[in-house]
Amino acid sequence: MPTELTKRTMTLNLTDAEMRVLESLSAQKDLSKTAVIRQALRLYQLLDARLSKGEKLFFEDKAKHEKAELMMI
């Protein structure tokens, strides 16, 4: 690990349901819970950046020829 890399610690308050989802994703993806949260943060930032520029996010169902827009508040 780079010697200067500082890590900050935070306590996360989650509901039971949220914790279950976190644990499930962690197991599924073979990642620590921390790693899952970091992935989520990276994804959130990226989506936010592109949506703020006016781009749109779609889900596409190729079989049904359907495109559904996903909006983020």
Binding site: M1, P2, E4, Q28, K29, D30, L31, S32, A35, R38, Q39, L41, R42, L43, Q45, L46, A49
Partner: protein, 204 residues
């Protein structure tokens, strides 16, 4: 730019390794400066190929305006190898774009290499004699190491340009041309066993 750790490169036809810096946290300027430094040598190399009637390597161009935005995002990390005050190779990775396709790691997070390139004076195709060997190996090693740090087990994946597929085939699994890629490039993925082989020097 920050020195992540010490590394080294090989000088052709000599046993010795020369010290190099593995750098990260490159700024927009760092990337631009590297490409400006590479420009003249690449120019010479391409001219030479053209005069010899040889085909240009498969080619692409940076969209500089888009690239600058990506550097600010947590999802993307840039690495470089510096020796002699010059950028010898560059790499950009994404922690969120990669998803395993190989059996045994389907759906698992994989570090995805968005961009990897060596300075033109290190390529046999473009330079008369490559200056340093192992730039690609060092960057792939850095990707594998970073993948490990992120909890991805060392797994990496990438899409290769056609002139580079032979190199990747040595260390990764070739999953074929990928219609999901904007240019339909060939997709390669490394599983944890291949990571061990790559790092420990065994023959795959």
């Amino acid at each position: 730019m920050r020195v992540r750790r010490k590394s080294s490169l090989k000088v052709p036809a000599r046993e010795e390794l020369v010290e190099a810096d593995l750098v990260d946290e490159l700024s927009n300027d760092d990337l631009i400066n590297a490409h400006l430094d590479w420009g003249p040598a690449r120019l010479e190399g391409l001219k030479r190929l053209r005069e010899a009637g040889r085909p240009w390597p498969e080619h692409w161009h940076w969209d500089w305006s888009k690239k600058a935005d990506l550097l600010d995002l947590l999802a993307y990390h840039c690495f470089g190898i510096v020796h002699g005050g010059r950028m010898q190779g560059l790499m950009m990775v994404s922690t969120i774009a990669g998803k395993g396709r190989l059996p045994g790691q389907v759906g698992k997070p994989v570090l995805y290499i968005e961009y990897l390139e060596s300075a033109p004076w290190n390529y046999r195709e473009l330079a008369e004699k490559p200056e340093f060997l192992g730039v690609g190996v060092r960057l792939l090693e850095a990707a594998v190491e970073f993948s490990g740090e992120e909890g991805f087990g060392g797994r990496v994946s990438l899409h290769s340009l056609s002139q580079s597929t032979e190199f990747y085939r040595k260390h990764m699994t070739d999953l074929g041309l990928d219609s999901g890629h904007p240019q339909g490039l060939r997709y390669f993925e490394m599983n944890m066993e291949q990571v061990r082989t790559f790092v420990e020097g065994r023959k795959p």
